[in-house]
Symmetry: D2
């Protein structure tokens, strides 16, 4: 690890008169990070099927053939918008927050631009990208600072944006979507917090609901948790305090199947509190760091569940912001 | 127009000890906006086919039948990511800018959370949403402060976010995509700035390229303008100084056909400079304010054009940020 | 008014490879703002004692002699910090909000920079500058879009920052500070909302409290309003809903005296609701637009009042952010 | 170190209807940070003269007597504004950047608020606080994640803002200012980069310039480095690439004297490159972490030097933003 990991490439200042960017190399000869211990240990899981340097992980499962088959799932043409509306009031993992400001640049007290009086609204966003409906890129979840493909934090995650595994690398996710309705599996109006979806649960639910899980799938779990956000008995406190979700055996099972993404109608996709006391977000590590699988959170699955849809075409095109870790999204399901 | 248009609902402060939100009504009795002239004139174009209060405009064209037919356009399964990568260096309409910051909250000098050492990257975005690949929601372009459906600025566009026409209202856009390759039409490697696409151009191009334009379509124009951003003869100055694009007769023609959205591989979709000296962004007004048609900018159309694709399934799921005017996007084309 | 008022100088994008700033002139020939009516009327008050083009207003009263005399007011050496602590919970004029984020760039999982293990915290601010203790620069308050010196909004206030009257122009404010304790004047523990300080009140209070008001003074009013923020009977709702403060005759009187700045221990300095139904923030207009006088809000005056201090040395050095309208401040009083 | 260090107190979401803040405790029983090694070693320097828990460090030197004496230094009444103007073009330590946006909330196409047509400009700041003229609070510079008073990073520096050592704690800095003109000492128009100010240099300069350094002083060094920002031979690249400044023996000497703050007319106050190859910002550690001394950067010292001023009254009132590490400032010098 060299100094450039902590000290980005230069000083960014633009000269005043000429609007000329000047980037100044900071002169720090002979400098290295303190107490550098050489390469950190590379965990066994760092090697994966797509080889050294892979940026896409399970998105490599996207093939023309699978996309074609996904499109064949469209029978009625009904469209489902999976991204909930997100705003300053959306519960967010602390200390994440957001603010939006709308303005009309240059248009106060005039009729706008040109003889045709062109007026317009613009907007500014200030906040964290991991709020509301979101995709966790492969640079999000790691294990002791080691991420997908064995990348150590210092290899790719400077403050100026991810240099690898950023969501700019991902073209989108298109494939077969599968909904597992866990309220049916557990025979309850809403699955309760702390209920883990194990391998056995997933096997049983998919069998009972007549839907086979396959390599390349986008698997969504419906627990009806969104009722806590806006249902009759809304309880945002309870919504954010814990959640039902994927357990460790379930995560290993889905990873073994080679799914492309796993999503849920909860803020964190996996079960909280964890099955094992003292652990936190273990399924994130299994899916993301170990297997390069994308995670989708705060997905609106109620209408799919109400319609009894278990299989659909799934299309996600997240904004390709350079170096971004997470992104607010709105995946589209079509049956 | 009442005082509440300029003065949002209250003071937002949370009491320190109790984490209790307090919203305080500002006591301003008997106050109104200065020189209020009653309702501004409602232009004739304010009435449209979807009636008073409609929030969706041409997105009303989305039907299950059209979606089903769009899915039938998928033959090879090839996926095209239409959103270019966007970052601080992406040319943007002034004074728009953006910055991304990646951080690891709470994880400096420890191994993260829990016995499983959960570590993670997060990110913060500061900037304007109308940068790079973007959708203009129906609250973006107006005529003398009047917007789609005859809404005046003061009816829906406070600084705290659009109360109508926000992109949170739009579930997404799914339908038949059509690419018109204007380099073929004009027989040139790259269409030059100031070249307007007229009704005749569009009719001729669609006929020559064997693709009929229909109600509900998403029409994309390919000019090869992206070569100025990252091609061999990249010239970002030229990229942003002007552009080829939709002209006034072309806009009226597309509106008459009832298309759902119009996009292009340029920063502003329509021709700049305008056909008529003294006008600016007239096609924006025709499409958005008069007809409720969505606009897509900075679309990556090169691969579609290279593959000779003129018809495809189009899927856009923009993040549903409450009150947002524009949004960075990455629509997906599938053939 | 030319097009450049609505359309800043160019496109700001930096070429990717070369880190070279490119500013691209947008080619919009023959374009002007719609319905331009020539110069708006110049109100009579636009002419002032410091002449055309003056940027400083009442800060012109700062002279070496006055500063020297102010320093002579220091007798005990006691220092008063007049800026209250400001954070996300501070009541703010809607829709203003703020967020602060602390991070340790590049230092996760290492011991920092160099053999000496240099580690550091940094911070990011996202929000409005007009929150908590603040100075209103002369570009803040206007009358029908006309500001100090007769400048119309379109002359100096583009979205990219004020080109005139910005707080970068102001070197700071140093002079004689005067505290008028209005709780003593009205013989009440806390002056109530809606109580206006008239010329007569100010004359009476200054006489009773034995302090003469002079040209160049910084006049602060103490109402004990801060008790509503953090006192025993804290009531942030009431704090923000209204306030006691300067009335119209009081503002004219202080302007006639030629004071340099007027401050108070309330969020808006002047009386709310206004004395005349249908008016809002009239004293702001009189002081700022008509007379170039600075306004200081949310000042902590309790300790000065408790000590019976009516005269002191006042020193304000606000951050000189280019183009800023307002700034969070912490003026220092010394007696 | 408990889980609350990485996981702030709860979920912050406000219920939609009621504008009621809900803070939800995340239920993570039995969880602790991974590989927690108990208390890290407390370095010897962590103990200081002001005792356990002190928040102010050398600001404790501020006494009424010293302030009174500082005021006596005012003889001519001339005011010097020490903060340079800061904007997006100001060279900044990477990846720090800033953007300012001015807007007129609610005032587009109307004459503002009330019968008196109250209009106003507001502004939004997005960016890092450590840009341009700045104070480094005592939470800024540490040694292997240990900061002033032996506080470890995890004790006080969550992403939501410093819980100790924040600049909200500091009332301001008032005292005797001393300028050492190092161009005179080195007999050069501008001191060159890499030139360290040693104890001997400081002793010699203060003797030659007839100014004794005392406990509680604010010591400023003038190198004429600002000429590289805006002088005839401006060279922002050179400005930011390195700098002359305080060396290690100089820092120990000043700390031994018990000064309150050390500032300079350079971006980083201390010599870069460092005197010892492999070290970085050692003087920051000595002053801040070991001795609780404040650091002031990018100070405008040219006029003081031109006037031959070596002793003056120094007044700094930085905005007291809750939890802030650094702050843009404009200290005032008065002679």
């Amino acid at each position: 690890m060299g100094i450039s990991d902590i000290m980005p490439a230069g000083w960014h200042g633009r000269a005043r008169a000429g609007l000329l960017a000047c980037t100044v190399a900071l002169a720090l000869p002979g400098l290295s990070l303190a107490q550098e211990q050489g390469q950190p240990d590379r965990p066994a899981w760092a090697d994966n099927r797509w080889g050294e340097g892979d940026q896409l992980g399970a998105a490599n499962h996207m093939t023309a053939e699978r996309t074609r088959l996904a499109a064949e799932l469209v029978t009625t043409g009904k469209v489902y918008s999976l991204g909930i509306v997100v705003g300053p009031d959306t519960p967010a993992f602390p200390p994440r927050s957001l603010a939006l400001t709308v303005l009309q640049p240059g248009q106060t007290d005039n009729s706008g631009l040109g003889d045709n009086a062109f007026t317009y609204n613009d907007d500014i966003f200030m906040g964290w990208l991991g709020i509301g409906p979101q995709i966790d890129g492969l640079g999000h979840a790691g294990e002791d600072h080691v991420y997908y493909g064995g990348r150590h934090y210092h290899d790719f995650a400077p403050a100026s944006g991810l240099t690898e595994l950023g969501l700019d690398q991902l073209p989108g996710l298109v494939g077969r979507g599968v909904l597992l309705d866990m309220t049916r599996h557990f025979d309850t109006p809403m699955v309760e917090e702390g209920v883990a979806y194990t391998e056995d649960d997933i096997r049983a639910a998919s069998e009972a609901q007549g839907v086979e899980l396959r390599e390349g799938d986008v698997v969504l779990f419906h627990s009806n948790w969104m009722e806590l956000l806006d249902g009759q008995n809304a309880d945002p406190e309870r919504f954010g305090a814990a959640e039902p979700g994927l357990g460790v055996s379930g995560a290993e099972y889905l990873a073994g199947l080679g799914v492309m993404a796993v999503g849920a109608d909860t803020w964190g996709m996996e079960v909280v509190p964890a099955e094992t006391e003292g652990e936190a977000f273990r399924a994130h590590q299994i899916l993301q760091a170990h297997h390069g699988i994308y995670i989708l959170e705060n997905m609106e699955t109620r209408e799919l569940a109400a319609d009894g849809v278990n299989e659909f075409m799934f299309v996600l095109g997240q904004a390709r912001l350079k170096g971004a870790v997470q992104m607010m999204i709105n995946p589209i399901a079509i049956r």
